[in-house]
Amino acid sequence: MNIIVCIKQVPDTNEVRIDPVKGTLIREGVPSIINPDDKNALEEALRIKDKYEDVKVTVLSMGPYQAEDALVEAIAMGADEGILLSDRAFAGSDTWATSTALAAGIRYIGDYDLIFCGRQAIDGDTAQVGPQIAEHLGIPQITYVKELELLDGKVRAKRVLEDGYYVIEAEMPVLITAIKELNEPRYPSIKGIYEGYKGDRIKILSAKDVEADEDNIGLDGSPTQVNKSFTPPTKGGNLEMLEGDPKEQARELIVRLKEEKII
């Protein structure tokens, strides 16, 4: 069985600050990580690999050269191979152009039974790329998956809704988008880190290599353009931290609420 996992290298938003003037992310000095939902996607693929024989997991990403670190990390977690789509022609891609490029990468890899994506990336929060890839490839998709079961030639998944879940079955090949409830990702192994950086399991490919449709990639191939980004102004108000142990804090809180005639 061949599994492809799409991952994105993102800035660790826990450590990201916003430039108050430009309204853009300050990326300098911010560590890059594999997008958290994508790690759940990868973990699920690796669990299938642990459980069944003859499973090959290929990790696919689009990004600048340093995104290779994300592929190394994926290999250190247990993936077999990594492919990085890296080309100036991809720069400035929106979700449409990104999914076009990734779908081209998937066609280049060829044989696949399952494609895993994370639900959404923490630096964009669109949740569009996974579903778009499935549409480009003309295969079924199950999004927001919290539980997955392999049956003969098909999958059964629990797809999460706000107040419950669907149980959905689909024929393979199928694209799954993972949420964090799906599993607990493993750590990369120390040995795997050395293996990953040897580089012989990672391929870096250009737009031409994967025959990506050049009218639909990069900035020019992106139907959405960002005109302006800004941080909404915070509403005023006084914040005060109460001191002491929880009991004292609770007592103080009640006194204050009474003073303010809230209770």
Partner: protein
């Protein structure tokens, strides 16, 4: 000169930090309190190839180097010095001598399961009457047909009672003094080998420190490590490397204490402002950080020398001497910065201060390190 870590080493630091934060830190206070050996952590470390970092893949290792290994011990020790020393004693004191002095058969039989973390290792040199004077070994080994028969007692053995494989030193020829000492690979189940007293310690309380008792213990002849009479040399060379691990542990303890202190003094308000706004305390933090940085360079340099085939006897001794000193000093200041709270178990710095003390004592006291350094300078 290049002070940059390799990409591999950087990623290993990130992974070790994440592992330490998520898997080790949550139980650090509990294992300190109860003195429970964290077996589950050892199993997790094995799963991620953390138990044999500097050894080649064909011998079950991760194929890494000594800097990566030092980083692993450092990151674990930031949150839990117990876990740091379990890894250090296992890697430096048990795996390494087999890797360096073992026959191919011994490596196949013992190093591979040790480096994979399927088995845990320990090192038994110290005796009730042979501490710093390690040459005064009273444990004896007598060749009897195909076996050596060991008699004697070892004391303060890290991972003792928890380990499966022990590197044990014993006299094979008393008349030759330190040149009459030999090293043996001893399995925990060998007849005549038992575990005595488990020490109730001031710090690193989750780590097992045990007495090992050998009463006519039967050790197959092929488990002699190196040649007869090479034991003292093997022990001293092994401890040279072990000191890098302990220096990394001390470094980690100090870093952990500094991190806790910075967090605390930014939060704690007195006189209407955070403690971090008081210049006297700022100066303390600046000194702590500077000492830590100096210790770090000594530790990494010693590890670099070891990985690159350069001399490291003096460098490892300096790293351990200095890093242990810094660990004690920084953790003491960390408690001071926490004030009354720092003296309680509600904050981890009192544990770190108790843990720091051992780094000035084991694998050669600070005075032994000074002897080693001076011997290098004055020969």
């Amino acid at each position: 000169m290049d002070f940059k870590l390799s990409k591999e080493q950087e990623m290993i630091r990130t992974v070790m930090r994440e592992f330490a934060e998520n898997e080790v830190k949550p139980i650090a206070a509990e294992i300190d309190e109860s003195g429970r050996f964290p077996r589950e952590t050892v199993e997790k470390m094995a799963r991620y190839h953390m138990m044999g970092i500097p050894f080649p893949v064909e011998y079950g290792g991760a194929g890494g180097d000594d800097i990566a290994y030092a980083i692993a011990v450092e990151e674990l020790s930031k949150v839990c010095a117990t876990t740091g020393v379990i890894l250090s004693a296992h890697t430096s004191l048990a795996c390494w001598p087999i890797y360096e002095y073992g026959t191919e058969e011994q490596k196949q039989k013992y190093l591979i399961p040790l480096a994979k973390g399927e088995k845990l290792g320990a090192f038994g040199l110290t005796e009730p009457n042979a501490g710093t004077d390690a040459a005064g070994q009273q444990t004896v080994a007598v060749l009897d047909g195909d076996n050596y028969i060991l008699n004697g007692t070892k004391l303060f053995i890290t991972n003792g009672g928890e380990a499966d494989i022990y590197i044990i030193f014993a006299m094979t020829d008393k008349s030759k003094g330190s040149r009459g000492i030999s090293a043996f690979i001893v399995e925990k189940d060998y007849p005549g080998f038992s575990i005595g007293k488990i020490e109730d310690k001031m710090g690193i309380r989750g780590s097992s420190t045990a007495e090992l008792i050998f009463r006519d213990c039967v050790v197959p002849k092929e488990n002699l490590l190196g040649k007869e009479g090479e034991g003292f040399k093997i022990a001293m060379k092994t401890l040279d490397g072990g000191r890098i691990g302990i220096a990394a542990q001390a470094l980690g303890i100090a870093e952990g204490a500094l991190e806790e202190s910075i967090k605390y003094i930014k939060e704690r308000q007195q006189f209407g402002r955070p403690l971090s706004k008081f210049q006297g305390l700022q100066w303390m933090v600046a000194d702590m950080a500077t000492a830590i940085e100096a210790a770090k360079l000594l530790v990494y340099r010693a590890a670099y020398n070891k990985s690159n085939g350069l001399p490291y006897n003096k460098e490892a001794a300096m790293a351990k001497l200095y890093a242990a000193n810094v660990a004690m000093d920084v953790t003491t200041k960390a408690v001071q910065l926490h004030g009354g709270y720092g003296y309680t178990k509600d904050y981890p710095v009192e544990r770190m201060m108790r843990d720091a003390k051992i780094t000035e004592i084991y694998e050669g006291t600070s005075q032994v390190q000074q002897m080693v350094i001076a011997a290098n300078l004055l020969r």
